[in-house]
């Protein structure tokens, strides 16, 4: 019978423990969170439940205030019951999964497991989130049933956001349990779940530590500034913009050093770590540690933010030689300059490592070492290369893992540079090349396959069958395409409409493409359409550049047509004879949000950040979004309702350009509807889930009727909203121009200055919306906002 997790217990409420508990609550589990009774209680406090639970309750409170938010929705905290180990361990008796997240001390962990064993129900899973203690040591002295149902399950901080979930069996772990966690991590926790071996630091931290230490060494060797290294190891090589040194500041140098020291002490035999033992700690590292300059949490580390007497903020960077903080420079390196011009990742990386400047040499040696080291870790830390790559991508937010980078640079070229720098590449890589295989991965029949070193052949990456990865079907002939979109058959009579423009911005071609795709689907008898893509962000909304240019030229005829077309497009999505389902992840702004609102259903990744943000650029939602909010408010009114709070509730998300920070939160902003849109925990599944929805809807699909019954409140509503807007203005939360824009939103949503409430049709509201949108485009302040956004990527408050 398939195991179900209904109740989970988290033992230990530190930053990790409470974050893990929050994520369990996020996915809807009944969660128990326990921690110790404080040591230093007075006799009076010892009898007081509040005092006894002060550690766990304090930690949970901190978790509710964490930024970025640990909870999808702050109300989910009520799913967590707290208690302490002395009084409340019985709460774990009926837990299906007990996860230990306490201090990294073997004897203390063992002591706790002994108590757990006495209470847990047989068959319940017990796991440890340890990052440094071998799993097999933790179960010494426990019963066979305990051992059988025990393994390591390793989250990364913060648990909601870091996508990696490492599963580490020990020798007698039940294979069925391991399979369970591999699936559970993906489907329920929404994680990239990776099977590890019981080796020190498992996969991600093992490779990550090597990578970090190598960067330190090479920084010295090539005499680079930390700003330069961060530029070389950031987005230019498809990694987060924190690069290397900023990342240390973010993680906290003390924490990072603990992990480093652990790996160094536990891996004395590995070919890289063994070379480090005679090296001294760099003097800058000693300097930072001695002064407790651990990074962001101690206000300074490798970098320091300062304010001058005028309040202007700037960043200082540590000069590694002089140990002085100096104004941070904007690094200029020829290698980076050359690489920036190249769009294709393989060509870009090749250009970088072949460049003769210091940056090029640095990266050449860095990748050479990374490749060799990673090759030698298979099969030591993982049987398969994809586990290593998945772990680095998910745990360190690299776009690509070592073997994927290696594929971009070329396998043979990688071997050549590795050896040129004196590294030894694993024999299996050479065997692979000798057998005529030129890459670690390849795509066949729409599926990603990896080189399996055991069978010496390519096999499908397990677990990805449930994902629809659009890159894998590129070699099929598209059903339709133009410069901004690509439409593929994703099976079972379902089309996928993919954005292909820069930042997935919605432009004219895309609109035409979607209209055409809907026509094709209707006329050729397709089951329906998924609008989805695998990019980090679904879409940032309409192509602002285009709109701005036309407004600058005062070409209001073209603009009018454009807005009308976009309105008709979203309306067409709703009023077509086939279901249209939108699958989102990441940013879903403006026009993209309007598409979601007009879809028959949404398959919305929990990590979707959704908002009608047009006010920020001096506009109102002009693709039927303002209209739709009026419709949604109207749908909530009931006989005898006072209506105003509902109207305000639907007005505010537009007027204040609010962005929901999770799919769940978007329900509260009325951007998603409970009976229509669904939150998908694992973003990688959203297109597949959207396809399922299309198929479910297609069976007996009834095209919705055009609405003529939208109740708008006219002057009564306007007076209420104008009054509310005035409060924002008096409170300095809105500028004069914000007020003007907000009043336009109000005007559309109330149906204008009608004498009393009445029913109107959607087109009437769309006309008001379009007029308001165009009138704002005629205002210089809107032009200034658009320009500011285009040049700085930040909203202007004028």
């Amino acid at each position: 019978m398939k195991k179900k997790i209904k109740k989970v217990a988290v033992l230990g409420s530190g930053v990790m423990g409470s974050g893990i508990a929050a994520h369990f609550a996020n996915i809807g589990l009944e969660t128990v969170l326990l921690d110790i009774v404080p040591f230093n209680l007075t006799d009076e406090q010892k009898a007081d439940k509040t005092a006894r639970n002060s550690i766990v309750n304090g930690a949970l409170k901190a978790a509710t205030k964490a930024r970025p938010a640990a909870f999808y929705d702050k109300s989910f905290v009520s799913r967590i019951t707290t208690g302490n180990f002395d009084d409340n361990l019985d709460l774990i008796a009926d837990a299906d999964w007990i996860i230990e997240v306490i201090i990294e001390k073997l004897d203390i962990k063992r002591g706790l497991f002994e108590k757990v064993e006495a209470i847990r129900k047989p068959g319940s899973y017990v796991t440890s989130n340890t990052s440094s203690i071998p799993i097999h040591l933790l179960v010494e002295g426990r019963s066979d049933d305990f051992k059988k149902h025990f393994c390591g399950t390793h989250f990364f901080n913060p648990p909601r956001y870091l996508r990696l979930f490492e599963v580490i069996p020990h020798e007698t772990s039940d294979p069925a349990m391991i399979d369970f966690f591999l699936e559970y991590g993906d489907k329920f926790l929404g994680k990239d779940t990776v099977l590890c071996k019981d080796t020190p630091a498992f996969i991600a931290n093992r490779i990550g530590v090597m990578s970090g230490l190598k960067v330190f060494q090479l920084t010295d060797k090539y005499d680079l500034k930390i700003e330069e290294v961060d530029a070389l190891t950031g987005p230019i090589i498809n990694r987060p913009k924190t690069g290397s040194f900023r990342l240390q500041d973010l993680v906290g140098l003390d924490t990072a050093m603990k992990v480093n020291d652990f790996v160094v002490s536990a891996c004395q035999d590995d070919e890289y770590i063994s070379t480090l033992k005679d090296l001294e700690t760099p003097k800058y590292m000693q300097f930072l540690i001695d002064n407790k300059f651990f990074g962001n949490k101690s206000k300074q580390g490798f970098y320091k933010r300062v304010k001058d007497e005028n309040g202007k903020k700037s960043t200082l960077a540590l000069n590694l030689k002089t140990l002085e903080y100096e104004p941070a420079i904007k690094p200029r390196m020829d290698s980076i300059g050359a690489a920036r011009k190249i769009e294709l990742t393989d060509k870009k990386l090749q250009t970088l490592i072949d460049h003769e400047d210091k940056g090029g040499q640095f990266l050449n040696e860095y990748f050479a070492s990374l490749f060799a080291y990673s090759s030698n870790r298979v099969p030591e830390i993982a049987d398969d290369i994809y586990s290593v790559d998945d772990a680095m991508a998910a745990g360190y937010a690299w776009d690509y893992g070592p073997f994927q980078y290696w594929d971009f640079i070329g396998v043979e070229k990688g071997i050549q540079i590795a050896e040129a720098h004196g590294n030894t590449v694993a024999q299996w890589v050479k065997d692979m090349v000798a057998a005529g295989n030129t890459s670690f991965y390849k795509t066949e029949d729409g599926q990603t396959k990896y080189y399996n070193i055991g069978s010496k052949s390519y096999q499908v990456v397990p677990g990805t069958e449930a994902f629809i990865i659009l890159d894998n079907i590129r070699d099929k002939k598209p059903v339709f395409q133009n410069s901004e979109c690509l439409v593929h058959d994703i099976g079972d009579g379902v089309l996928n409409f993919e954005f292909r423009s820069k930042a997935n911005a919605i432009g004219t071609e895309m609109g035409q493409g979607l209209a055409e795709t809907i026509r094709i689907a209707e006329e050729e008898g397709w089951n329906g359409i998924v609008i989805g893509n695998n990019a980090k962000n679904f879409s940032v909304g309409a192509n602002l550049m285009n709109v701005g240019m036309l407004a600058m030229q005062k070409d209001f005829d073209t603009l009018g047509t454009m807005v009308d077309q976009f309105q008709q497009l979203t309306m067409r999505m709703r009023y077509s004879s086939i279901p249209v389902v939108v699958a989102t992840q990441g940013y879903v702004f403006g026009g993209a949000c309007e598409m979601l609102m007009h879809a028959d259903a949404g398959a919305v990744a929990a990590e979707s950040y959704i908002g009608l943000v047009e006010v920020g650029v001096g506009l109102i939602p002009g693709g039927s979004g303002t209209k739709e909010m009026a419709v949604r408010a109207s749908d909530k009114f009931f006989e005898g309702d006072v209506e105003m709070p509902t109207l305000i509730d639907h007005f505010k998300p537009i007027a204040t350009a609010s962005v929901a920070t999770s799919g769940h939160e978007a329900y509260g902003y009325n951007l998603m509807l409970k009976n229509k849109d669904e939150v998908i925990v694992n973003a990688k599944r959203n297109i597949a889930e959207a396809k399922k929805k299309v198929l479910a809807l297609a069976d007996g699909y009834m095209q919705p009727r055009f609405r003529k019954d939208v109740k708008v409140l006219g002057r009564a509503g306007l007076a209420t909203l104008y009054t509310a807007i005035n409060e924002f203005k008096l409170g300095n939360y809105m500028s004069e121009y914000d007020v003007e824009i907000a009043r336009k939103v109000a005007y559309v949503m109330c149906g204008g200055d009608l004498t009393s409430a009445q029913q109107v049709d959607e087109q009437y509201l769309l006309d008001l919306e379009r007029e308001a949108f165009l009138s704002l485009l005629g205002n210089q302040k809107t032009m200034d906002r658009i320009q500011h956004m285009l040049t700085t990527n930040k909203p202007l408050r004028n």
Partner: protein, 389 residues
């Protein structure tokens, strides 16, 4: 014919939404207070009372359906009429003025006047915020929120955050001292609230008695107050700590004619010498007393220096400070037992509650003239001058 106040009582003022009356209706509370009030004057046949005048700032929802009439019938019998009066935060004083004026005009001889308010049950803006479109187009600030007015007053009258916080702190200190000295004991009617809730899955009955004002925070400090966030304005000065507390409460006085006093041999406590109102820009509503106080003094033929004690409703510290400064009031005679920042501000009840508090304190200090004044949302001020007998 002269009108005299012969008795006055109030409930304790409870914290709204968290306090002892959070589930108790304000009509029930008013009935409790009036029943007690009338029991202290056994010489008077309740059925001869001409009217029960009930101040209430949000007479809708639980306070709708003619709360004044409902209270009179339940407290005194169906023969006794009742009316609801709304002058927002001035309601409780307004009703005493109406009662006194009616007696003086010969339109009756016995009135119960005061106010009741549950801020727990009725939202501050009522259930349906529906400002007038025409008014909003003429002047958007007709419907301005109270917090925004307090910020506007702070800017115009140059009240600093530090001054506001210190004022708030002193309000708590004075209120705590007054409670400790038992100064409110004689004016408060203890009210027992019976409740039924589901506890641990079972229907559970419980009861508690509310006998003392709940708002005072004895542990507060200027530092603690200065750490609070401005709530109405980005970078503003008005915080939850230097604003009045939202509260639940009821307070009523018995006003009778000179003739009845003599006939029944009653002992008058005081008389309302006069009461005046004035209007100001709604955006600076907090400064309202500055328009009302000079008018009241003039009507009474008194100088400001004749007034020995003032209850100035502390809607907001910024507003109270601006009024004290503008009118040049002696801070030592204002709110000697603390104000609404510490003790709470149950809107429609407040005027009557402050009047009762003032008269008790005047008795202790053996003073002759005292004043109750309050700002009123929408841009008004009210000031009533009492003479203690």
């Amino acid at each position: 014919m002269e009108a005299y106040i012969v008795a006055g009582y109030r409930s304790a003022i409870a914290k709204s939404k968290r306090g002892g009356f959070k589930n108790y209706r304000s009509d029930d509370l008013a009935v409790d207070v009036i029943k007690h009030l009338i029991s202290t004057v056994p010489e008077l046949d309740p059925t001869i009372i001409d009217d029960v005048i009930v101040g209430c700032a949000n007479p809708e929802g639980e306070q709708g359906l003619q709360i004044g009439r409902l209270i009179s019938a339940r407290a005194l019998g169906k023969e006794v009429p009742g009316v609801t009066v709304n002058r927002y935060c001035g309601s409780g004083l307004e009703t005493i003025a109406i009662a006194s004026a009616k007696i003086k005009a010969g339109m009756g001889e016995a009135f119960i006047a005061g106010g009741t308010e549950s801020m727990s049950l009725i939202p501050m803006t009522g259930y349906k915020l529906s400002p007038s479109y025409n008014a909003a187009m003429e002047n958007i600030n007709y419907h301005v929120g109270m917090g925004a007015t307090a910020e506007a007053v702070a800017v115009k009258y140059e009240v600093s955050r530090a001054q506001a916080d210190e004022f708030a702190y002193n309000s708590h200190v004075k209120a705590a001292a007054a409670i400790d000295a038992g100064k409110f004991n004689d004016q408060i009617v203890p009210v027992t609230v019976k409740e039924v809730f589901v506890k641990d899955g079972k229907r559970t009955e419980s009861e508690h008695t509310v006998a003392m004002d709940e708002g005072v925070r004895r542990s507060t400090t200027v530092e603690a107050l200065s750490g609070l966030r401005a709530v109405f304005k980005n970078g503003g000065v008005v915080t939850a700590g230097n604003s009045s507390q939202t509260s639940d409460g009821a307070a009523f006085v018995l006003v009778v004619s000179e003739r009845l006093v003599k006939e029944l041999n009653l002992t008058p406590i005081a008389r309302l010498v006069t009461c005046a109102l004035g209007g100001v820009d709604p955006l600076y509503m907090g400064i309202g007393p500055c328009a009302a106080v000079p008018k009241a003094l003039k009507q009474a033929g008194l100088n400001q220096s004749d007034i020995q004690q003032v209850e100035l409703n502390e809607a907001f510290a910024t507003q109270a400070l601006a009024v004290i400064k503008t009118l040049d009031l002696d801070p030592n005679i204002v709110n000697v037992n603390g104000g609404a920042i510490a003790l709470g501000h149950p809107l429609g009840c407040t005027g009557a509650k402050l009047s009762i508090q003032l008269l008790e304190e005047m008795k202790l200090r053996n003073q002759k003239y005292g004043m109750v004044t309050a700002c009123i949302g929408g841009g008004q001020g009210i000031a009533g001058i009492f003479e203690k007998l």
